[in-house]
Symmetry: C2
Subunit: 464 residues, 2 copies
């Protein structure tokens, strides 16, 4: 048992002082008690918060962050960004993916994410043939997560068609595609207990990539406790296609035809009408919001205020990783709403500042979408113990200078242009100290070499 | 003469290699030449860019960054934020202002700003009586800028009325108010050459705070080479008031009645119609855009695409300092446009990525609004030399790993969640090395003590 003493810890939604936290050998919290002496415990200076779950990641896209900001075509949109993404995807092998994912997951930990849901569709070789073993790409992600010590919900993606009309996959989509049998083998591989703090979930790429019968068959075959993730209603074109071909908007179609509940994470769900918004909230599913990627792609804004009024659950994802910072996701989630409604403090509630509402929402929804016991610093309850995932904010960070406890969350989320995360524990292990991951030097050097190679190939015009 | 050798420098809008830069004893660039050997020169590793001018700052508001994110009033708006701001303003003395401004200006340098336009209206004691000497608050700002080594355009603000209807100042606005004679004495004090790299400019708080005759008298009395700054059209309520009381929208009124040109910086100018947008662009004035503050306040979005199409000039300001990062200002300036237009790469041009367009716009417009020769790394020309203000991006920063020159600006502006500025030179002096200002420890400790005192007073309910 490891025993810690936190000067200040955010315990079950409130700041407490002199908090003793005991962590068992498996990396779970065995006991939490406020007002205990520090003697005999490892002291933690600063503001201790639960680590943030990142509910949506495409790890490989980290390799192209910032490389698609230059097309001058006035009709440029999500769809031209997708071309760039396909080029990057074509270059990746299992070894390269592992190097990119290790760097990304390390950056996540340094930024304050301690768990990630990996929405993974790069399953096969570029020509569509399976790797040997089949799960080589899944293993690359699992090894990366285990190496740097971030919790992982691995979501192998079912990807079968090139559009809602059922057209076959395009040439560049071939490595994404799997028949049902192959998909279930991937899901089984993702579920094997190779590393601690890793689990699997079911994943459908989108309505345009998964025919209805396949969706039903996978749901019938998969274990009921697995989370289910899907991209939905990110683009207006998708809503128009769905209305034309299925007579309903995408989220409405899912609600009516498939039936969604707390297992589900609907990623983006940007374009919902008032009825879909209320029904999604009532379903108990999680809306997977990715504010920086959705802004980078020009997607639009999710109707967060109405959704919160209806009791909706939500979390954040860094998605394309053009930004790896939970603070920037949360800040601009709120700012998007302020610009839309032309008023301040849109998510604030009676006695709760925007920072607290945002943090608590992202913790609870992110944990639900991840299907793991994270997002709280609290003693075990009837459902079991909480994983010892926490981050420590530097009390001397510019944004927190001289702060009172009640102002810490607002100041961190709204006023911290520089990172304020000093230390990070994931599953009972300190992975980050003084803002740096224990493996930063080696992991970053490897990543930089790989990116130099990627850049050189871009100059030479080589796909691989 | 100091001689430098930059591995890569952004010279007059293009990346060049092995760039020799000579800096004279006054802190200006005497010569620039690409392709020179490094021998006998101080070597600079990394990507060297001009430092960014910050065209709009209210330094004192740094003390309240992140402290106004909690009102739960559904009618909350700019105007309730203003109440918080008045409370903070009431607490400030010249000594306190100097401590806050030193911290802020140091943070600006670390973030990549090397010059700041200080829009300063906290002139007098809280009861409205003048300090002795009159310019005590101006001096506090000048000392802060000189201490940490940032260039300063000091803009004493004329503030006379409490609304467009000419009503007198409210109680809490009394320390802002000056008669014309006092104002001109403040302007004269700001113009005295106390410290190098500091100059003055004329400043009107807003149409609601400055009656038309006062504006005309100040413009007639002030030297013609001084820049002129004004807040305008930030809030829709202001546009409505102006339409009702003056029969025209605020920017239109300024264009028609006062006549604006390249000396002018119209701060915000958020709510302009198509005609105002085109006329503002044609005037040669600078639009002073403050994306993070405008988002924090829920102001709305400036029509940047149409303004660029009309050849408009613009720059960025950190304004309330809820964010001190030129990268976040530029990134979210573009992202706001993407969310509005629902497409990507809104500001990109033929052969020029978003990052380059944004950086060049902010450098040129910021320099124009500052009235100083900054924003370029280039040899002297017919109008004189350019100040030696530059920033060095760390080639090993996550966002820049393995980058090609053509991708550096996009990757820095769009993909850098963590700061990438390694070193900063302002007026020929290295103020920041390895990401830290040379005075960080002492300045931050002083600021932290002050903020602890501010927090304690808030708890005790004391105004001062």
């Amino acid at each position: 048992m490891q025993r810690y003493h936190a000067e200040h810890a955010f315990v079950d939604g409130a700041w407490q002082g002199d908090v003793g936290i005991d962590v068992d050998a498996g990396g779970y919290i065995a006991a939490v008690q406020a007002g205990v002496p520090a003697e005999g415990r490892e002291r933690i200076r600063g503001w201790v918060l639960p680590g943030l779950p990142n509910l949506h990641s495409h790890a490989f896209q980290r390799a192209m962050a910032g490389l698609a900001e230059r097309a001058s075509d006035p009709a440029d949109s999500f769809w031209t960004w997708r071309e760039q993404m396909y080029r990057c995807a074509a270059w990746l092998t299992p070894d390269r993916l592992r190097i990119v994912a290790s760097q990304l997951y390390l950056e996540m930990l340094e930024a304050g994410y301690t768990h990630v849901c990996e929405f993974h569709y790069l399953h096969h070789a570029p020509d569509g043939r399976p790797y040997a073993p089949l799960e080589s790409m899944l293993d690359a992600l699992r090894e990366a997560a285990a190496e740097v010590g971030i919790g992982l919900t691995l979501l192998p993606v079912l990807y079968q068609t090139g559009g809602l009309d059922g057209r076959p996959l395009a040439e560049r989509q071939r490595r994404f595609g799997s028949d049902l049998d192959t998909y279930l083998r991937l899901l089984e591989a993702a579920s094997r207990p190779l590393h601690p703090h890793q689990r699997a979930g079911v994943c459908f790429h989108s309505l345009r990539a998964v025919p209805e019968p396949s969706m039903r068959q996978v749901l019938a075959a998969a274990a009921e406790e697995l989370p289910v993730h899907i991209h939905v209603a990110e683009q207006e074109a998708e809503v128009e296609d769905c209305l034309r071909l299925r007579g309903r908007r995408p989220v409405r179609w899912l609600l009516d035809e498939i039936g969604i509940g707390p297992r589900w994470c609907l990623v983006h769900a940007t374009h919902v009408d008032a009825g879909e918004c209320a029904a999604l909230a009532a379903s108990g599913a999680v809306a997977g919001l990715c504010p920086t990627t959705e802004a980078n792609l020009g997607d639009g804004l999710f109707p967060l205020r109405a959704y919160l009024d209806a009791g909706g659950r939500w979390g954040i994802g860094s998605d394309s990783h053009v930004c790896v910072s939970p603070v920037e996701e949360l800040r601009w989630l709120e700012y998007g709403q302020r610009l839309w409604h032309r008023r301040r403090n849109v998510v604030a509630a009676e006695g709760r500042g925007c920072g607290e509402v945002l943090l608590q929402g992202a913790l609870a929804g992110g944990a639900q979408a991840s299907g793991v016991r994270v997002g709280r610093i609290a003693p075990p309850d009837a459902r079991g113990a909480w994983r010892a995932d926490w981050i420590v904010l530097d009390p001397e960070a510019d944004a927190l200078a001289g702060a009172r406890a009640e102002d810490v969350l607002d100041r961190w989320i709204f006023a911290a242009a520089r990172p304020s995360v000093d230390a990070v524990m994931s599953a009972g292990v300190w992975q980050v100290r003084q803002g740096r991951h224990r493996l930063r030097e080696a992991v970053s050097a490897r990543f930089t070499r790989l990116m130099s190679d990627f850049a050189a190939r871009a100059v030479a015009g080589q796909a691989d």
